[in-house]
Each structure stands twice: as structure tokens, then as C-alpha cells.
Symmetry: C2
Subunit: 109 residues, 2 copies
């Protein structure tokens, strides 16, 4: 339930081109919000909101430095998301394994 909400926030945050780009940039090099805002064709406030969504999902961390806020991508959360998907693939593999076992089963007749 709690974990579900977290997964919802993470995937929701990743479901936007601008936000994925912000994560990419800040994973490569930290940046202030206004630096980020300069990269996109939208208002400062809009970029600020995208950063807030990413921060709520813990995909990004925001730390003050003087009058600006430095944004850094958080590889931990990316990793967590990847593990969630890995668990899905595992379910599928388990199904294949059951199917294989069934096909290998000797015919009882």
C-alpha cells in the first residue's frame, strides 16, 4: 500500500519527456533550477513544478547552496524502479519454468 504509492510516484514522474531529461542531466552533472529552466521552452515555474514532482518521487535531491537550489539525480531510486521491473520479469520466467516442467512431465498413461 505504502510501497504502491511510492511506485506510482516514481513511474508517474518518469512518464514525462521533460522530467526524464531533467533526471538524465542531473545524473550526469548537478544543476540549479534556473540552469535547468534555461534548457526548456517553458516558464521557470513549470520547470520548478517538474523538479518538485521528481523530488517527491525521490528521483532527484534538492540541496540549497547560497541563493540557489542544486538538483542532483538519485541513482538509488532508478535502481529501485529497475528492480521492480525485474520482479515482473521474474514472474514471467516462473511461468515459463512451470510450462517447461509440465512439458517434461512423463505422460501418466
Amino acid at each position: 500500500m505504502v510501497d504502491d504509492e511510492r511506485a506510482n510516484r516514481i513511474f508517474r514522474a518518469l512518464a514525462d519527456t521533460t522530467r526524464r531529461d531533467i533526471v538524465r542531466r542531473t545524473l550526469t552533472a548537478e544543476a540549479s533550477i534556473s540552469e535547468l529552466a534555461g534548457e526548456y521552452d517553458m516558464s521557470f515555474a513549470a520547470v520548478q513544478k517538474h523538479v518538485a514532482v521528481l523530488e517527491a518521487a525521490e528521483l532527484v535531491a534538492r540541496t540549497p547552496r547560497g541563493r540557489e537550489r542544486i538538483i542532483r539525480g538519485n541513482p538509488e531510486t532508478i535502481r529501485h524502479a529497475r528492480e521492480l521491473l525485474g520482479a515482473f520479469e521474474q514472474l514471467w520466467r516462473a511461468r515459463i519454468d512451470r510450462l517447461d516442467a509440465f512439458l517434461a512431465e512423463p505422460d501418466p498413461n
Copy 2:
């Protein structure tokens, strides 16, 4: 641009607890829409819409069988999503590598 739209659809589709559960179930064992609808406390039409979102993201395939539609989870798309996240992690690793190289660099003075 086209690829971005696809990523948007995939992550958006995964950003909902019910939809992730449908993917889990149909990855484990195929099911009809009404079978799925029976599992959740919402209308048939609501579940139908969730399946449509998943199908548009190619997280699920819908094939007719008699009067019912059989839903199967699509492991290929899960894998694709995981690879997208893997690319993000790779960016981060590249940054660490650059940092290591910088620290290892002999002081020119």
C-alpha cells in the same frame, strides 16, 4: 520524439497500482477481461479502460477467443522499460568514472 512518446505511455501505464497488478497477473497466467474485472472493486468498464491503457503501451496483448478477449502480459515491453532505466544508471556511472579519472590525474604543477 516517437520513442519518447512510447516511453511516456509505458511509464504512465505502470504508474497505477491496479494496472501493475493486471500486468503481474497476466504475466503469470492469461485471463479474460471479465475474469480480471472480478478481481477488483470497480466496474467492468473501469477495468476495461485500464486494459486499454496497458495495451496502448504494449505492456499487454489482447487476443480474441470466442466471445472473450484473452489478456497476456508482454515481457518484451517490461524488458524495454528496464533497459531505459539501465541507460540512466549508465549515465551516472559515466559521471563517477570521469570523477575518478579527474582524481587520479597527476597534478600538473
